[in-house]
Amino acid sequence: MAGLSNPDIEDAIDPKDERENLRDYLRALRRDKITAAAVLFLLALVAFTVGAEFLAPHKPTGLNLADRMLPPFSTGKKGLFYLLGTDELGRDLFTRLIYGARVSVSVGLLGATLSCFFGVIAGLTAGYYGGLYEDLVMRFVDGMLSLPSLLVALFVLFILGGGFANLILVFAVLHWMVFARMSRGLALAARSKTYVAAAKAMGASGRRIVFRHILPNVVAPILVLYTLEIAILILSEASLSFLGFGVQPPDPSWGLMIADGREHIRSAWWLVAFPGLAIFLTALCLNLVANWVRAVTDPAQRWRWFAIGTGGRG
């Protein structure tokens, strides 16, 4: 557009008007119905997790053998209403889902965050610096990846003992390699970009180039992997808890609930279906929101989300 015009003319546009504010984001969100639904789901999840004591209709460990195995939307003998039914000990499934979210979501979040943190540092530096350092890191990654992770997890947890903190630690140790591999590839690609050469010419140190120049440009795919990892970790937690090395019953977690419900899948499908659905929806919504955040924070892409035009079809 500049053409033969004087660039000073464009001074008239105040960048403050140009910069998107919260209202713009909300409007963009409102137009993107699916992402908006995902955001609402995640907000509700957080609210329930934080305020489980106030929001849950029943006690998570309260036995009520009279109301065992009730299907969803049923009323028990004492007139109690069970939205999602009850399990084999008469505990309210909805309540247990809410409490289970605490464990599952925090194991997923913390585990993924820790492994992402270490994996990205290792991968980006390996990809950027190359040489012997890269060989060492990547061969170590290969070695770690060839270990049967469930077996290692069982072994470590057997020695350290189960429980929340150890579980997260084991996950971080066993999952950082995925991030390392991916970020190494991204750093390799970014290393040959002109802006990296430019940064070097401007006297930026290696560390500055990796974390200040390359990292923001490769966040998008890492973010997607991160959300997928959260879902995977929620499921891993399930198998470990099922084997008795994770969260100890009667504390609920989504994975444990699926494991317990498995025995009754023919007679009480809801015991498996709802925790499964919760894991699925959480992973899906995280993915959708991550994708959206990536798009609207990309300086080159975001105008599409704020554009007002209707398009030829409209």
């Binding site: 500049a2 033969l4 910069r19 002109t194 070097k200 300086p299 554009a307 035009g309 209707t310 398009g311």
Partner: protein, 626 residues
């Protein structure tokens, strides 16, 4: 086949092939729909070459792409106007209303497309033969054998030597010029009646550009297909067009036969466009560089003569850089690409040395070696009295304070995820020259210096035009007050008017701050404007070095002469037909391991004027040109 086409042409001589009337294409934006082009009308007669010329953002590509309904893939839509393509039956095809199925029979079949970047237009994972056959089998229902035969025929048509062998090759095995000929062959595959060529030579070297332009003209004569050529370069228009459509800000400003538009332009914008084209020979008889004519309001403030100093700032001796080519099972080095071979030159204080040559000549690698962004294999680089190759990594990092670089592509050299403020203060921060609020003040000063509004500091690169981005790159290079700036094709990606402004800015800064430039470029007309001295590079060697006047008035080396002759001119009397098509592949700089190149031997022509008279490179150089 060609005869039938001519006969068809005769039948409909008075009916245009393409008719565009009152076209308006809209795109979405934050402030609602905006018009990319409006009220655009033009016609293309059968067998005619029509050039749409304009600068970036003028809507020239949008107008052409709409003919193939390709704008909808970038979010645009036709809001108004009529687009008709004459069909054989006499009824026009309404290109606006045609559905996707109908369009597929038109794209590639009735209308062929030649893209700007031949590497990205070809799929790297398939052979040339496969890609050519694809559209033949799709549109013409040919069997595999028929398609293969036709492919050979097509490659012969675009003058590709050894066509049978090429069919089995992959795109990366061919040179840029060859690839563009393949793209043209693909566009011709189904004998389209219209060829749309979008800046077909912008990504190519000047000598190759001349070949491709000549080829397109020849093919037009042979097949009778009309050509719609989109370009920003008035010289290309002069070489090619029968008729010209000049566009500015989405509107047609002038339309007419090429003779009239070039010799007697009616619209001031056309006159302005013609005025800013740097012309070879403008500087004859002038000893020192001079600013360019510009049409913009920003005047150039070069009062001081651009006299070079006497102290040597940069002394490069016997610089050599080879890139190993690995192959075989164990990844051993099987050959070396001799990127830079025994290159020696000096730059004085306050002097501009231009390093010219085509892609692959090693000029960019030389620039990168000086900053040690590439590590040279041997040689010596003395900068300001210090041996750069002897410095530690940290020492080199600090030494870069005095030598900055401006890269060719302003889209790639700015980090898309950093605000312009952060990018401009980056060197100040890295070299610890300023801190705190002084950083921001200095950034604002620098933006004033390169005449960008301060409000832009908060923006991101994607919110700027190409010329504005290159100003940011210059501001950033100026930040640590360097003694030497290496400008690697710094203006090649810019529109001519912006190019003039950026070059003038660079010259102004030289006069004021006494900066030396290593100006790496391929456009001889620009080089003639800015340089004190010129070094011509070919296949990794400097083949001729002299003052600017000597090189342009009395070129000695065969390659220098070719380079000068290949520059397209606005002169209608010297059209591209006379260009012979080179059939020999250019000589390769790749040599087996252990190959010892001939030592360089320079012959002195006059004082300061040297020509290479040895080495394998130039002696058997490409024979092309008049």
């Amino acid at each position: 086949m060609a005869l039938v086409r001519y006969w068809n042409r005769g039948q409909r001589m008075n009916k245009p092939l393409v008719n565009v009337e009152g076209l308006r294409v809209e795109f979405p934006s934050k402030r609602g729909a905006i018009a990319g082009v409006q009220d655009v009308s033009f016609t293309i007669e059968p067998g005619e070459i029509v050039c749409i010329v304009g600068e970036s953002g003028s809507g020239k590509s949008v107008s052409a792409y709409t003919l193939m309904q390709l704008t909808k893939f970038s979010g645009g839509w036709v809001a108004d106007g009529r687009l008709t393509l004459e069909s054989g039956s006499g009824n026009g095809i309404d290109l606006r209303a045609a559905d996707e199925a109908r369009m597929r029979t038109i794209r590639g079949n009735e209308i062929g497309m030649i893209f700007q970047e031949p590497m990205t237009a070809l799929n790297p994972s398939y052979t040339i033969g496969w890609q050519l056959a694809e559209s033949l089998q799709q549109h013409r229902d040919m069997s595999q054998e028929e398609a293969a035969d036709r492919s050979v025929e097509l490659l012969k048509q675009v003058r590709i030597p050894e066509p049978e062998r090429r069919l089995k090759q992959y795109p990366h095995e061919l040179s840029g010029g060859m690839r563009q000929r393949i793209v043209i062959a693909m566009a011709l595959a189904c004998e389209p009646r219209l060829l749309i060529a979008d800046e077909p030579t912008t990504a190519l070297d000047v000598t190759v550009q001349a070949e491709i332009l000549a080829l397109i003209r020849k093919l037009r004569d042979e097949t009778g297909a009309a050509v719609l050529l989109i370009t920003h370069d008035m010289a290309v228009v002069a070489q090619m067009a029968d008729r010209v459509v000049v566009m500015q800000s989405g509107r047609v400003t002038e339309e007419g036969p090429v003779e009239q538009v070039l010799t007697d332009p009616r619209h001031p914008y056309t006159r302005a466009l013609l005025a800013v084209v740097p012309k070879l020979g403008d500087m004859t008889g002038k000893a020192l560089p001079e600013p360019m004519e510009t049409v913009a309001t920003t005047e150039c403030n070069v009062d001081k003569q651009l006299e070079p100093g006497s102290r040597v700032l940069l002394d490069v001796k016997h610089l050599t850089k080879r890139f190993p080519i690995r192959g075989g099972w164990l990844g051993r080095t099987v050959a070396n690409a001799h990127a830079v071979e025994d290159v020696t030159f000096r730059i004085l204080e306050n002097e501009t040395l231009s390093l010219v040559g085509e892609s692959g000549s090693g000029k960019s690698v030389t620039g990168l070696c000086i900053l040690r962004l590439e590590r040279p294999d041997s040689g010596e680089i003395i900068f300001d009295g210090r041996d750069l190759l002897a410095l530690s990594d940290e020492g080199m990092r600090l030494a870069r304070r005095d030598m900055q670089m401006i890269f060719q592509d302003p889209y790639g050299s700015l980090n898309p995820h950093m605000s312009l403020l952060e990018q401009v203060i980056e060197p100040l921060r890295n070299f610890k020259l300023e801190a705190g609020s002084a950083l921001e003040d200095r950034a604002a000063e620098l933006f004033d210096r390169v005449r960008l509004p301060r409000a832009f500091l908060r923006r991101y690169p994607s919110e700027l035009s190409g010329g504005q981005r290159q100003r940011v790159a210059i501001a950033r290079a100026l930040a640590p007050k360097p003694k030497l700036i290496i400008a690697d094709e710094a203006v090649s990606a810019l529109d001519v008017s912006i190019q003039a402004e950026v070059l003038n800015l660079m010259m102004e800064l030289q006069a004021e701050m006494g900066i030396s430039y290593l100006f790496i470029g391929h456009d001889m007309a620009v080089v003639e404007r800015v340089s004190h001295r010129v070094a011509v590079m070919y296949l990794g060697r400097i083949v001729e070095t002299a003052t600017r006047e000597q090189v342009f008035a009395n070129p000695q080396h065969e390659y220098t002469k070719t380079l000068l002759a290949a520059v397209p001119t606005l002169d209608l009397a010297h059209r591209a037909e006379k260009w012979e098509l080179a059939t020999e592949p250019p000589p390769s700089p790749i040599h087996p391991v252990g190959y010892v190149p001939e030592p360089v031997h320079f012959e002195k022509v006059t004082a300061c004027h040297f020509v290479l008279r040895s080495g394998e490179g130039p002696a058997d150089g490409r024979k092309c040109g008049p």
